[in-house]
């Protein structure tokens, strides 16, 4: 376990450096002068030059990367040129909203996906299994932004039971969280169903049945606990998908989180804000996957005891 953990931690450093390299080179690849873009047509050459120095634009790719890394480690991600606020302040304002939405959706996806997967595997070859298969494939084939618009149309415009968007309690959270959860639930269901199909055919299940355990106890106490192990990895990876989906869902539901901030920043070519949010989301994704791997190691005795 210790070796496994050390290996995962050692790998974290080059990954984070790589992520910082990719985000720092965005500014490098922008056609034209980023300082000119940020300051607009009215800027004087002196202002442009000052910003070029501040953004390390006079350096080469590597020099800029090193300086960017230094700034980032000091918590300086630059300023949004639209709001003139530091990027870190803008991000800190939006982060709690995104965390609330993404975590709720994640829990919904894990629970819904597990239930669907177990339902499909517990009744193989029946119409119920087929319906669940269809539901799960449809789930991860549906464009989330379209699903969101559809749900707004039905629940807000036609039936008037839920608000169209914005924040304020569970009624506002419900539609965006469900929307965001659907594709991940579909994928998790498939992995749980695969695991369940394998576990239900295993010897320990036959033994449990021979002991006379009721079917629900076999399914949940024996098969599910074994089937969930590989699915845990997928659930972790799904948080990455959720972080992508968040940009779309927050835009559709006018949810004031990082995704919408990013979307608006793209529209305004607010380069430093884009850079900061992309960096934060990518780093979050890596850290979550590290935690998932650690959790996986603790659940799976083959790794825990090694």
């Amino acid at each position: 376990m210790a070796r496994y953990l050390l290996g995962r931690l050692a790998w974290l450093v080059p990954t984070l450096l790589g992520i910082a390299f990719v985000t720092s080179s965005v500014l490098y690849l922008v056609p034209g002068d980023p300082a000119q873009i940020l300051l607009g047509e009215m800027a004087t050459p002196a202002q442009i030059q000052a910003l070029r120095v501040q953004l390390h634009l006079n350096e080469g790719l590597w020099g800029r990367y090193v300086l960017y890394l230094g700034d980032t480690l000091h918590g300086d991600l630059g300023r949004s040129y639209v709001s003139q606020k530091p990027v870190t302040v803008a991000i800190a304002g939006a982060l709690p909203e995104t965390a609330e939405l993404a975590l709720t959706a994640w829990v919904l996806a894990a629970a819904g996906g597990s239930l669907l997967g177990v339902a499909a595997a517990a009744r193989p070859g029946t119409w119920r299994g087929a319906v669940v298969t269809l539901a799960s494939v449809t789930g991860f084939s549906v464009p989330v932004f379209w699903l969101g618009i559809l749900l707004i149309y039905l629940f807000a415009s036609v039936w008037h039971v839920l608000p169209t968007g914005g924040v304020g309690g569970i009624r506002h959270l419900l539609l965006p969280a469900v929307t965001l959860a659907v594709p991940s639930a579909g994928i998790i269901a498939r992995f749980v169903a695969d695991g369940m199909a394998g576990a239900l055919g295993a010897d320990f299940v036959r033994t449990a049945a021979a002991k006379g355990l009721p079917p629900w106890a076999i399914v949940w106490k024996h098969a599910f606990r074994n089937a969930i192990i590989p699915a845990v990895t997928v659930m972790g990876l799904q948080l990455g998908e959720l972080l992508s989906g968040v940009v779309l869902v927050e835009t559709v539901f006018a949810w004031p989180g990082l995704g919408r901030l990013l979307f608006n920043a793209i529209g305004q070519r607010d380069l430093l804000l884009i850079q900061g949010i992309v960096l934060l989301l990518a780093v979050t994704f890596v850290l979550v996957n590290l935690l998932v791997d650690v959790a996986y190691g603790m659940i799976d005795p083959r790794i825990r005891l090694a």
Partner: protein, 263 residues
């Protein structure tokens, strides 16, 4: 049995979508960008069976041409991802050792980016458009293609016929071209099918955000984005392109389904 008919339906849908994409100029009743403001926001009916959008453009014609644009982008992206990722994966798998380790670690770094963020980074840097969207989606597919190709190479390279080829003096290129590649095709084909579905949905997401193909090009994601302003007046403008995306992506997923799994 069940797998057979879901697969058949999926293939049927794909044939239809590809056929529509190819034949769009001949079967579309109107041009996809021909405006007619007098006939704007018409409900579905004779002449325009899916109605018209806010510029009086025929929705069905735009769906058909949209299939064309989407498939072009998806095929280009998957071809790019498979070519680069496949080359890296086979190279890493055949070479082994530190070459393998370095490439796979690099791929892990790319995989550390949620897909939309790669696309946003690329499009922020290069500017929006269909070509850059295809490039961004292709870049996203590279690491998964590399992993698939690598594991195919690893599973084959110790097989007797590959070792025999080496023993007979075949060079690396010959072993790759005559043995590894042909025997990996079915795996790569499955990967391509799933990836085409993903590419279609990513392309729709990018154009929904305004990062993909630019108006007035008929792109499904952009049609949903502009349709939602007229949701109450004409829901079909939002429904139709969404259903087109859903059917196409689900068809790719079902068609490339491996036998293991839920069925």
């Amino acid at each position: 049995m069940k797998g057979d008919w879901t697969r058949r339906i999926a293939l049927g849908i794909l044939v239809f979508v590809v056929g529509a994409a190819i034949a769009a100029p001949w079967i579309a009743p109107h041009g996809p960008v021909a405006q007619n403001l007098v006939a704007a926001l018409k409900a579905p009916g004779p002449g325009h069976w899916l109605g018209t959008d806010q510029y009086g453009r025929d929705e069905w014609a735009r769906i058909l041409y949209g299939a064309r644009l989407t498939l072009e982008i998806a095929v280009a992206a998957v071809a790019l991802g498979l070519a680069i990722g496949g080359a890296i994966g086979f190279w890493a798998g055949m070479a082994g050792g530190w070459v393998d380790a370095v490439w796979m670690r690099l791929m892990d770094i790319v995989l550390a980016f949620p897909y939309l963020l790669i696309a946003i980074a690329v499009v922020t840097a290069l500017g929006p458009g269909a070509f850059h969207a295809a490039f961004a989606i292709g870049a996203y597919l590279v690491p998964s293609a590399a992993r698939v190709a690598r594991s195919a190479a690893l599973s084959l390279k110790d097989r007797d016929f590959v070792e025999a080829a080496h023993a007979l003096g075949a060079g690396r290129w010959r072993v790759f071209a005559r043995h590894l590649l042909p025997n990996s095709l079915s795996t790569l084909w499955t990967f391509a099918g799933v990836s085409l579905g993903r590419a279609v949905i990513f392309d729709a997401a990018l154009s929904f955000l305004g990062l993909g193909a630019q108006p007035p090009q008929p792109s499904w994601g952009d049609m949903i984005n502009s349709g939602r302003d007229y949701l109450l007046a004409s829901p079909v403008l939002t429904l139709a392109p969404g259903i087109a995306i859903l059917l196409t992506v689900a068809a790719f997923n079902f068609a490339s389904e491996r036998r293991a799994g839920l069925s």
